[in-house]
């Protein structure tokens, strides 16, 4: 359930990247000089950091580290 929601959140953020609603307009200018389309994508970066925090907190693949520590360098090569 948790993994499904996180996968959905990743997919939703990917879709939100294609922001057709601010495509042809520069206004409003945030702080009087930052076009809204640029501010939207800066906000997208912050949202991506938030999503990564959720992934690290709720879906961290801890078993990979346990597995590597349990049997380090079996040196298959």
């Amino acid at each position: 359930m948790k993994r499904g929601l996180l996968t959905l959140a990743v997919a939703a953020l990917y879709v939100l990247h294609q922001d057709i609603w601010f495509w042809r307009t520069a206004r409003p200018l945030v702080f009087g000089f930052l076009p809204i389309g640029l501010v939207y994508h800066v906000g997208f970066s912050v949202a991506a950091a938030g999503l990564m925090w959720l992934l690290v907190t709720h879906a961290w693949p801890a078993r990979l580290e346990h597995d590597a520590d349990r049997d380090p360098k079996s040196r298959a090569r």
């Binding site: 990743v10 953020l13 389309g37 994508h41 078993r63 580290e65 590597a68």
Partner: protein
């Protein structure tokens, strides 16, 4: 010359860090220590150096140059899509690579592919394609170094000499310091250019009399107003760019870097802070690139604007060679430096030039990665390790560092295209299309070496085809693309002013999708690796 002197002082510091790392590692002439810093990087160095490794001349000079010509769309095209895709691939793929590297002792992705798919020569094919695609990326660093030193010295240090100085410094600290020296230098550089952005914005804003009036003036002119929106860019093209950051984890230097963390937990902070670091670098670069369109009192920028105007108004009547010349004259790879030269005090311009230099010197990791790959995937794999002591591997790696740097420098003197185009069209597109290999190896039990070979050969052929196509069909003037092949009312293949489009998408989209499809179909039709091998990869990871 004061800025150039400050930049030279900075280069001396960087060189010392490499030598210090060499002295620290003296007596440990082992391949794992030289190529992977003995898998011992701590959390701060891991985050800063991994991020710094990804931020090349392309991020600083290329982004501001692209924004100068195309506007704010540059941030959405590359920065915000990267802020989602790159940390996601580090989280999903990077952690698995780290665990497998620690468990089986892998030092390169090709070693993992060879073991995972029970192959030898197919691994060599993958190495050859990766190496061929990586070289342009290395050339970018040398070109960026030449451009930067020429600009901060007011042209007194010519491009060829600036490129030579940067190549020599990078080669020296990679030669002596290996991965440890490279990671420390990258950490120092990342801190420097993270500070650079905020200072540069403040200084240039003050010099231009604030950005409000500049933004209002850009909006008031029909020629520049579109730079503040995305109306000149088609949605398909914008969507295409979200495929480009897939290249990050497929780049060998990033995959190899994932093996250097002391603990897997060090990926946590890297994954979370990566999008914010991207924002801190790209926002000032893109914004200043756009604002440079109002800095027409700067002679260098005025010349670029005039070249662009000529290209736009008379482009259709000019020959392809004339259009190419105007396109090069209007390219904005050095606008950031021109702005600093005009608006920053001399001493500060030097410090900021050093910050930019920090970014353009990120080719160190690629040089080291290619050296690691050659030593481990070719030299050691085909018997060098058995015949010679391990120290010989390190000497071989160092020799390769020297040869590669000299080759990259000579190529940089010949390369005519802007930094951004060169990087995007060949290295980024090719590695994005190779990403299905990593994903299939780590997540799909049914993948086979023949599927990997089919996908790799397809990527090599497709990149070569795009390069040949763009040589044969000259770029049209700014405006609608030149349709080369259409069927059923669809524009299947077209030459655009900046490259190639297939069905309206950039080549990276069909290349990546077909690569994934070939991996799937050919793997379904060919025999799988032994159950023992599959069990070693999926028993705990399933």
């Amino acid at each position: 010359m004061i800025p150039a002197a400050i930049v030279c002082f900075y280069l001396a510091i960087v060189l010392y860090i490499g030598v210090f790392a060499f002295r620290r590692a003296r007596g440990k002439e082992q391949a794992e220590d030289y190529f992977l810093a003995n898998r011992s990087l701590g959390p701060f160095v891991f985050l800063m150096s991994l991020f710094g490794t990804n931020m090349t001349a392309f991020a600083i000079l290329g982004s501001s140059g692209h924004a100068f010509s195309n506007g704010i769309v540059t941030y959405g095209l590359m920065a915000s899509s990267s802020s989602l895709v790159i940390p996601l691939t580090l989280f999903l793929v990077g952690t698995r690579l780290w665990a497998l590297g620690k468990k089986h002792g892998f030092m390169t992705p090709v070693q993992m592919f060879r073991d995972r798919w029970e192959c030898s020569h197919i691994g060599t094919v993958i190495f050859a394609v990766q190496a061929t695609l990586l070289v342009p990326y290395i050339i970018i660093g040398v070109m960026g170094g030449g451009t930067t030193l020429a600009a901060v010295s007011g042209g007194r240090v010519p491009f060829w000499l600036g490129g030579a100085i940067v190549a020599l410094v990078v080669m020296s600290y990679v030669f002596f310091g290996g991965m440890r020296g490279t990671a420390w230098v990258n950490t120092f550089q990342t801190v420097l250019f993270l500070c650079f952005g905020a200072v540069a914005v403040a200084v240039i804003a003050a010099g231009m009399g604030g950005f409000r009036s500049a933004a209002a003036a850009l909006l008031a002119s029909p020629a520049t107003a579109p730079l503040l929106s995305r109306e000149r860019v088609l949605p398909y093209y914008f969507l295409s760019y979200t495929f480009i950051p897939l290249s990050s984890i497929a780049f060998p230097h990033i995959a190899i870097f994932c093996l250097t963390a002391r603990h897997m937990a060090q990926f946590k902070k890297t994954v979370i802070f990566y999008p914010l670091c991207i924002m801190a670098i790209w926002l000032p670069c893109v914004f200043l690139g756009v604002m440079a369109n109002r800095a027409d009192e700067v002679p260098g920028i005025q010349q670029k604007l005039e070249a662009r105007r000529t290209l736009t108004t008379q482009g259709a009547t000019l020959t392809p060679a004339q259009r190419l010349e105007l396109r090069e004259q209007s390219a904005g790879d050095d606008v950031l430096l021109l702005l600093l030269e005009r608006y920053a005090p001399t001493w500060l311009a030097g410090l900021l030039g050093a910050g930019i230099m920090a970014a353009v010197m990120a080719s160190d990791s690629q040089i080291l990665a290619l050296s690691t790959m050659f030593t481990e995937d070719v030299f050691a794999h085909y018997g060098g390790k058995l015949r010679f002591a391990e120290a010989v591997q390190v000497h071989t790696g160092r020799l390769f560092v020297v040869l590669l740097t000299v080759f990259a420098y000579l190529m940089a003197l010949q390369a005519p295209e802007s930094i951004f185009e060169l990087a995007i069209q060949y290295a980024f597109t090719g590695f994005a299309a190779l990403s299905p290999l990593l994903i299939a190896a780590l997540f799909w039990r049914g993948s086979t070496k023949w599927g990997a070979l089919a996908a790799t050969l397809w990527v090599a052929a497709a990149v070569a085809a795009v390069a040949v196509f763009q040589q044969l069909v000259p770029a049209p003037p700014p405006g609608p693309p030149r349709v080369v092949y259409a069927a059923g009312g669809l524009e299947l293949l077209a030459r655009t002013a900046g490259g190639t489009s297939a069905l309206g998408f950039m080549p990276v989209v069909p290349m990546t999708l077909i690569s994934a499809l070939l991996m799937f179909v050919v793997s379904r039709l060919t025999p799988k690796p032994s159950p023992t091998t599959i069990a070693r990869y999926f028993s705990a990871n399933a």
